[in-house]
């Protein structure tokens, strides 16, 4: 049985569709309304408010906190400044990805780590003989994501976020209680995440809601999030790759390089778990690569037309395993794991894992597509990720916030 998040009182009142799903043991809203389009556009045009409390949250404190973080994470947290946030993955000793998430540095002796899967055991296992305390603050901490071009205008009524830079955080007070606001998110857009003690969760929700009223704030669910994250080229654990904790065979596991997270691996930082294996892979190259795909609408249209049907596009992200074939030999060379029709880009996009020699930009493969009842092949071209990368995501000046995403 799932349990309610700290914001449940608020979200359940707003969830008129009664469409819930389970997320890490919590009730999470799939979509608030009967159609999630509005929620998607809120993320891209005004502001979407999403309860992300089910994320696992850990606080790491102590003299050796930096040491522990640098031992576990692939990324060099020594380079981070205080109140900076970073995205990283972490691997086992064989360089196989355990999970990905963000790490916030409060000070060299205090960090917070946010992850999709429970990570307490792994932190503890690696903290042995270090002067560090790992605390699971998942239950005690509520988390809200406010994402979209208007999010800054909304939040600046509550806190001083105008100067807050991309992947940085401030510690502030809202209505007298402690809130951490980080300029992070899973939408690839201007946006913030707010971390608050569970007991103040509803008050925070109300405050954000009130501030957002004039800016068309909308509560948003997982379906809308799943669309924007594909546009942003963000991968999702258990969907686009698997945590090696839950894999039975090596084939099911991935390394950071294989899932496009090579950029988070800092080889120059000294030893960390998995380094030797990753160094080897970096030298020898990876067998697999994660790419973005653009699926040919013309071909799809023709196929539907041949069945006398109008073009039917996935207006919500599908998650699964859709085979990809070499366009000449028809041998399977990879698989797409999530895909969606982007209403903003007007393109059918997908994330896929392919053999590395098919990962070059411009490579065309065949992707299996379901045309009503028939399985057919359509062309899918490897394109640059992210599919959508608005300038406002990183901008500091408030003027840029309202420039359309695609300009």
């Amino acid at each position: 049985m799932a349990i309610p998040s700290p914001f449940h009182e608020k979200t359940s009142a707003l969830c008129t569709s009664l469409k819930w799903k389970e997320w890490a043991g919590y009730y999470a809203v799939e979509r608030y309304q009967f159609n999630h389009d509005q929620e998607y556009f809120a993320f891209r045009e005004s502001a979407g408010l999403l309860d992300v409390s089910p994320l696992f949250k850990y606080e790491i404190r102590g003299k050796d906190a930096l040491k522990l973080m640098n031992r576990v994470l692939c990324r060099d947290v020594g380079r981070m400044k205080d109140n900076q946030v970073a995205y990283s993955c972490w691997t086992d000793e064989r360089g196989k990805v355990l999970d990905d998430g963000t790490v916030a540095r409060f000070s060299p002796e205090r960090f917070r780590l946010f992850s999709a899967h429970p990570s307490y055991y792994w932190l503890l296992q690696n903290a042995q003989r270090l002067d560090v305390e790992v605390q699971d603050i998942t239950v005690q901490t509520g988390a809200l994501a406010l994402q979209g071009p208007r999010s800054r205008a909304i939040l600046s009524q509550l806190a001083d976020v105008d100067k807050l830079r991309y992947f940085h955080q401030i510690q502030t007070k809202v209505d007298g209680f402690y809130v951490v606001i980080s300029r992070t998110g899973y939408t690839g857009d201007l946006g913030y995440e707010l971390w608050v003690e569970a007991e103040h969760a509803n008050k925070l929700y109300d405050a954000v809601w009130a501030a957002g009223k004039d800016y068309n704030i909308l509560p948003a669910g997982i379906l809308a999030l799943d669309m924007v994250r594909v546009e942003a080229g963000f991968i999702m654990v258990d969907v686009d790759f698997r945590s090696c904790t839950y894999c039975v065979t090596d084939d099911q596991m991935s390394t950071p390089y294989e899932i496009g997270l090579g950029w988070t691996v800092h080889m120059d930082k000294g030893p960390f778990i998995g380094k030797a294996a990753l160094e080897k892979e970096k030298r020898q190259g990876s067998a697999w690569s994660l790419v973005g795909l653009d699926i040919s609408l013309e071909e799809l249209e023709k196929l539907f037309d041949a069945r006398a049907l109008p073009l039917d596009l996935p207006c919500a992200t599908w998650r699964g395993v859709v085979p990809l074939f070499d366009s000449l030999t028809n041998r399977q060379v990879g698989y797409a794991t999530s895909g969606v029709w982007s209403p903003l880009l007007k393109r059918y996009i997908a994330l896929a894992t392919v053999q590395s020699r098919y990962a070059k930009l411009g490579t065309v493969m065949k992707m299996e597509a379901l045309i009503d009842t028939d399985r057919r092949h359509v062309s899918a071209r490897v394109v640059q990720k992210p599919f959508l990368d608005p300038a406002r995501k990183k901008s500091v000046g408030s003027d840029v916030a309202l420039v359309p995403a695609l300009v």
């Binding site: 040491k67 031992r71 792994w122 296992q125 690696n126 042995q128 003989r129 270090l130 030893p271 778990i273």
Partner: protein, 539 residues
């Protein structure tokens, strides 16, 4: 002069390793934290006996042969009778006959079965274990050797050996014997270094295992002898050296840092300390991967033996001997009486973290006025009065013990850890459980005395073949160290995967072939006639 090898600790394994390396011209320095060599094996340590040094080592170092303790076990019983297991089979048979005719009849057969098993397995002590990962030609030879010797076993012996492995010592012995005291006396060695009782499966293997190195000998001056042999070859011993950490630079061991800050550098470091101390205390925490740390943490090292030294004003009177002169009985081991059920009950207590109500006491008069005892079972962190429990148990056999008692020195497992750095107070640096033997000792992949840190080796009884003071681990480690080409990293030693597999399959084939061949030999009539006396199941 630069130090070739730095050895941490100075127990017989360390000393044996040092002497062997020095024999090959290495400059060897031993760092010992105390002011004398030997650790718990020093005369002050309180060990009543030990296993003899390996013959090859004795020859190499020019040491004298060590006479086995005889009696094997003198067993005073609580009903004021007694019996004795002697080295001599016939003499023992007569003793057993007083308790049970059937046991006496079966003794010779049992003994000869065990002897054949020992003959088969003993050479393993001097070999670096061949594991399933073995990919080196030398291992292939060793494996073939094992296979051939297995082949030389009779069909029934081969089956007997396979059955013996997982059995409980009580079940195993009950196939031959019936008298509870005889069962108890026979079973006793099975608990050396085990946290187990007579009914615990796997103890039959320990029984065999502890006899491989030959009959027990007096503790004697083994440490002095080895120190002298080492010193003659140029080994330098430094006392009072508290090692704070092992220095590791880029995955390679370069020396140690002492607690006073001094750095001692050496080409390689060999630790005779147990793996928990070596890996979890001395090596800096970030140098080892979490999987290894987990495996080391999980090593079973539950010390349950206390050493008690009773200093007496005279030899006490044995209730069971009456006016008889005890001298002939006191030359060997003495096993103060509990039958096999009492031993199980003694183990029951320690399971719950309590000192045994009636501990199992085995001892030896190392001098006429000094009784050294091994006391089982004493839990780690025991807060109960071990001294009193021992004395009150002994009184049943030695009625005037308290009158002649001058001093009782007790070393519980906690004391052993504190004084000698033995983690968990375990005298063998790791239980002799089946999963901690041979190629799994101390851990799979490191049975060749190597470690995850380049140029750091282990040579203590935590390594194959464990045991008490045979020095075999030290000598084997020295051999491995000398054959390891330092310029090659450990990973480079193993042959490429394909070749490794091919060779490995060869090993498996040789082993299996020999195994099958040995079993193919049908029991021969004459052989079986000879076997009739012993009780091993035959088929």
């Amino acid at each position: 002069m630069d130090i070739d090898t730095l050895i941490l600790g100075s127990d017989p394994n360390a000393l044996a390793c040092a002497a062997s390396l020095a024999n090959q011209g290495q400059k060897v320095v031993i760092l010992e934290s105390r002011d004398h060599a030997g650790g718990v094996y020093a005369r002050e340590g309180g060990l009543p006996w030990r296993t003899p040094l390996r013959p090859r080592m004795r020859r190499e170092l020019g040491l004298l042969d060590e006479p086995p303790l005889d009696p094997v076990a003198f067993c005073p019983l609580s009903d004021k009778t007694h019996f004795t297991l002697w080295q001599d089979v016939e003499k023992t048979r007569q003793e057993l006959a007083r308790l049970s005719q059937s046991d006496a009849q079966r003794y010779a057969g049992f003994k000869s079965f065990m002897d054949r098993m020992i003959a088969f397995a003993e050479p393993l002590l001097d070999q670096t274990p061949v594991g399933p990962d073995a990919a080196h030609w030398a291992s292939l030879v060793d494996a073939a050797n094992i296979g051939l010797r297995f082949k030389s076993l009779s069909h029934s012996d081969a089956l007997g050996l396979m059955r013996l492995g997982p059995m409980a010592v009580q079940d195993f012995l009950e196939e031959s014997f019936e008298h509870p005291a005889i069962l108890g006396a026979m079973a006793l060695p099975a608990f050396e270094g085990r946290f187990a009782g007579p009914r615990s499966p796997g103890t039959a293997a320990t029984l065999l295992y502890h006899q491989l190195a030959g009959p027990r000998v007096a503790l004697g001056g083994v440490v002095e002898d080895l120190v002298a042999a080492g010193t003659r070859r140029g080994v330098e011993l430094r006392f009072g050296q508290q090692v704070e950490s092992i220095l590791v630079e880029v995955g390679r061991c370069t020396g140690v840092r002492l607690q006073d800050g001094t750095v001692v550098r050496a080409t390689r470091v060999v630790s005779a300390l147990d793996p928990k101390r070596t890996f979890l205390e001395l090596i800096p925490p970030l140098e080892l991967g979490p999987e290894l740390v987990r495996n080391v943490t999980n090593l079973k090292m539950r010390g349950a033996t206390a050493l008690v030294r009773l200093k007496l004003s005279r030899t006490p009177r044995f209730a069971c001997l009456g006016e008889q002169d005890p001298a002939p009985y006191l030359r060997g081991r003495i096993h103060f009486g509990p039958d096999i059920e009492a031993m199980e009950r003694a183990y029951d207590d320690v399971k719950y973290g309590k000192l045994s109500e009636r501990p199992v006491l085995e001892g030896r008069f190392s001098e006429p006025t000094q009784l050294d005892l091994r006391v089982k079972f004493v839990p780690f962190g025991c807060s109960e009065d071990v001294r009193e429990r021992v004395l009150s148990t002994l009184e049943a056999y030695l009625p005037d013990l308290r009158e002649c008692l001058q001093e009782a020195l007790v070393k519980t497992p906690s004391d052993l850890e504190a004084e000698y750095g033995l983690s968990g107070g375990h005298l063998h640096q790791g239980e002799h459980n089946l999963h901690q033997l041979h190629f799994c000792r101390p851990l799979p992949g490191y049975a060749d005395y190597s470690s995850p840190v380049e140029r750091l080796f282990l040579c203590g009884s935590a390594c194959h073949p464990g045991g008490v003071g045979t020095g075999a681990a030290g000598a084997n480690a020295a051999r491995e160290i000398l054959s390891t080409n330092l310029e090659r990293a450990k990973s480079a030693v193993s042959t490429p995967v394909g070749a490794g597999l091919a060779v490995g399959t060869g090993v498996a084939l040789a082993g299996v072939g020999a195994l099958v061949a040995s079993l193919v030999k049908k029991p021969k009539k004459g052989k079986e006639a000879k076997d009739n006396g012993h009780s091993k199941p035959v088929s």
